[in-house]
């Protein structure tokens, strides 16, 4: 039986469930599939995996403070770590202080690092 990971934290050797980093490049205002991707992230988290959702390109748009992004907040509440690509934020004029509470700006080196650490990484 898989042991649950600490909420929001990595699952370093605590159990045999894999850790996931999901890359989301679209926003749910444009594409309905994004809602399904967020449900996937929450489902994986509830199954005991550590889950990082890395928002990139237009995927960063819903993480603006004040944006209507309930599904993103549901993911945060479930313990999914939500990161926003700092380059994509700058491209779109979103300052780091404009990002919703709980979402952390991060460089894309995070993705390479998690790949090297054998996380399962999916470009959704």
């Amino acid at each position: 039986m898989a042991k649950a990971a600490t909420a929001g934290g990595p699952n370093h050797g605590e159990s045999d469930v894999p850790n996931y980093l999901l890359i989301e490049s679209r926003d749910h205002f444009t594409s309905q599939v994004v809602s399904g991707h967020l449900e996937l992230a929450v489902g994986l988290r509830r199954a005991g995996s550590a889950v990082v959702l890395y928002l990139v390109q237009n995927g960063v748009l819903p993480c603006r403070a004040g944006a209507d992004s309930g599904a993103l907040h549901d993911a945060l509440a479930a313990g999914v770590e939500v990161l926003a690509d700092d380059f994509s934020l700058r491209e779109r004029g979103i300052g780091e202080r404009d990002v919703a509470r709980g979402v952390k700006p991060a460089s894309i080196g995070i993705v390479a690092g998690h790949l090297a650490d054998s996380w399962k990484v999916m470009f959704l």
Binding site: I23, F87, S107, I108, A112, A116, M122, F123
Partner: protein, 135 residues
Amino acid sequence: MTTTLTFAIMDAPFENSRTVTMFRIMEAALEAGHDVNVFAYEGAVALPFARQAPHANAVHGRDTAAENHPLPRVWIEALFALAAARGRKLDWVNCGLCVDERGVGEAIAGVRRGTPVDFWKMSVDSGNTLTAGTR
């Protein structure tokens, strides 16, 4: 710890920002000291096409230099240069059948021809693999 990471890409040049994102991840991997394999399939085999050329933009009144049109082959050349500067390996394989279909056999230096079997071998021999398929 250094490892080898494999990336598979499928989108044709000038089509999708996801290709740029994949290039950025490859760059980060090389900067972190990892070796990188790339398998380009379908339209992505045109990314390193050597005859891509910048152009002017008459609508905006810019000549070629001012337009500074970005070319994927230049970005890939930069990845090869970065790998060399860091003493890492960048192995770029273009699917040969996909190349022939599109007539883009003139690739920049460093790109080699292969088959999906190369992708399988790369993945087996790598620490991890990331795929960005077409949508």
